[in-house]
């Protein structure tokens, strides 16, 4: 569970979110939607504690995020950014293993248990066969699955993804959304992702968080379609 407690965000002088109180429940998949520049990324970065909010707090399972150390936070929230990861000679298994960072020692030494968690994360996203492939040899869709596996290996109650479907072809967009829904529903994780792919998100998401004019409205799937039409003046 992740909750916003009178969260106010600003980007420069522009207020992006004004005293929002919203709770995202366990085991739910939420699509964060809004126009370009509405502040979806800013909101996700604040939820992940990459940036500090203007005021208010983000609370995860009763822990206020900003009172924790970076390592403690990393055990509560995993983040998947829009940045494309293309590194030569870095195997997918090693990328996923980076998800174990909050649990390993100063040198990042992996225990037997960590290796098992990495394998099951790869299995959960259907990428077991790619474990030894170098990440720079993968397609965008495959790469996105590996980054999701990395977030799973972090074993956090909350996963945030910034436009995970952005560079993908249409079938892969649907597949990634379905994968996220399965993960949220089977593991009880709270998953929030920003997206412009309403078509791919509508059939699978439990909730839609609509960010518009500095307010965040959480809608169920049934309510969302109407609200989206008004938002985008369709």
């Amino acid at each position: 569970m992740i909750a916003l407690d009178r969260l106010t965000l600003a980007y420069g002088n522009k207020v992006i979110l004004n005293a929002a109180d919203t709770t995202f429940g366990r085991g739910t998949l939420t699509a964060l939607i809004g126009r370009n520049g509405a502040g979806k990324s800013t909101l996700l970065r604040a939820l992940a504690a990459i940036d500090t909010p203007h005021s208010g707090a983000v609370v995860i399972d009763s822990h206020p995020l900003h009172s924790l150390t970076a390592e403690e936070r990393a055990r509560l929230i995993a983040f998947v950014s829009t940045q494309r990861v293309r590194i030569a000679n870095l195997s997918c298994q090693d990328v996923v293993a980076i998800g174990r960072a909050p649990y390993t020692n100063w040198l990042g030494r992996m225990q037997e248990q960590d290796h098992e968690i990495v394998s099951s994360a790869l299995e959960a996203v259907g990428m077991t066969d790619f474990a030894l492939r170098s990440i720079d040899s993968l397609s965008d869709g495959e790469c996105q699955r590996i980054m999701i596996a990395r977030a799973l290996a972090q074993q956090t109650p909350v996963i945030l993804l910034d436009e995970p479907t952005a560079f993908l072809d249409i079938p892969t967009r649907f597949e990634i959304c379905r994968l996220l829904a399965d993960l949220a529903h089977s593991s009880g994780k709270t998953i929030i992702f920003s997206t412009h792919d309403i078509d791919a998100a509508l059939p699978v998401c439990d909730n839609f968080a609509i960010l518009d004019n500095a307010t965040l409205a959480l809608q169920s799937r049934e309510q969302a379609a109407e609200k989206i039409k008004t938002l985008f003046s369709l």
Binding site: A74, A88, I98, G99, G108
Partner: protein, 335 residues
Amino acid sequence: MKSHTSILFTLLSVVLVMLFVADIAIGSVSISLTDIFGVLTGSNIDSTIRSIVIDIRLIKALMALLAGAALSLSGLQMQTLFRNPLAGPYILGVSAGASFGVALFLLGAPLLGLSASPILSAVGTAGAAWIGAAAVLLLIIALSKRIKDIMVILILGMMLSSALSAVVEILQYLSNEAALKSFVVWTMGSLGEITLSQLSFIAPIIILGIALAVFTIKPLNILLLGESYAVTSGVNLTKVRRNIFLSTTLLAGTVTAFCGPIGFVGIATPHLARMIFKTADHKVLIPASAIVGALMLLTGDLVAKALTLPINTVTALMGIPVVVYIVTRNRNLMQ
């Protein structure tokens, strides 16, 4: 560790020992391997040969070993931190800071009529260079606490570096020939000006820098994915940046202070290490870069001795083809 990695480490270590011995044996006077072995084990050897081996060649070979490892490690740290294959130990102005210190000492002091000052002669060229390099990096560390975006830090470092170089050029323009010559000779780099007492000061500092680099292995591996992944994986960015900059001050700053700027070792050797070991894992790359850096500088010293050239020109001519090969062959090197 995978078996081929261990084999490569063993092979490189053997080559390293061979080059180290060769660097002691070869020079204006050739010294036989039996003599070198004799001197090192304390047998009764002719005192001239003993003096050449111990006082000159051994110190120089040790300096090449340490300097190569130091420059290479700090280059590796900079390349990963800035996610830029062309970053190196001097990207943040270490070399410009050192040059500035030396220029003030060799060129500025005579202009102000301070050349005979006892305080200044105690500081020496190396001291002036070290203060210059450390001042630049301390400034960068202070700035990086306030600035989030690593690219802004990179640009500030480069601008600071250019500004210092401009001031150095003004000092050069105003100076007389003799002072100018000694400055220009310093910028060409030299491994041979080190004394035993200097080496016993340099070695612990470089070892401390290497130890600090070992502590950055885990965060460097996470930083491969970029800073937003690093922060959300539990990396304390401010602390890690500070450690990396501190390590670079100790490594590149010290080497530059005592040997002058030695170009391209720090940029080229981390790439060589990546190519040889085919990995991006810093658990392997940190020791690998240190060994390959030492190898490259020992080779550079052998070539420089054979052709009686300044070390900086040799390392540039050796390193540039490596960098050219890397950027043309491997376009998606680090993004």
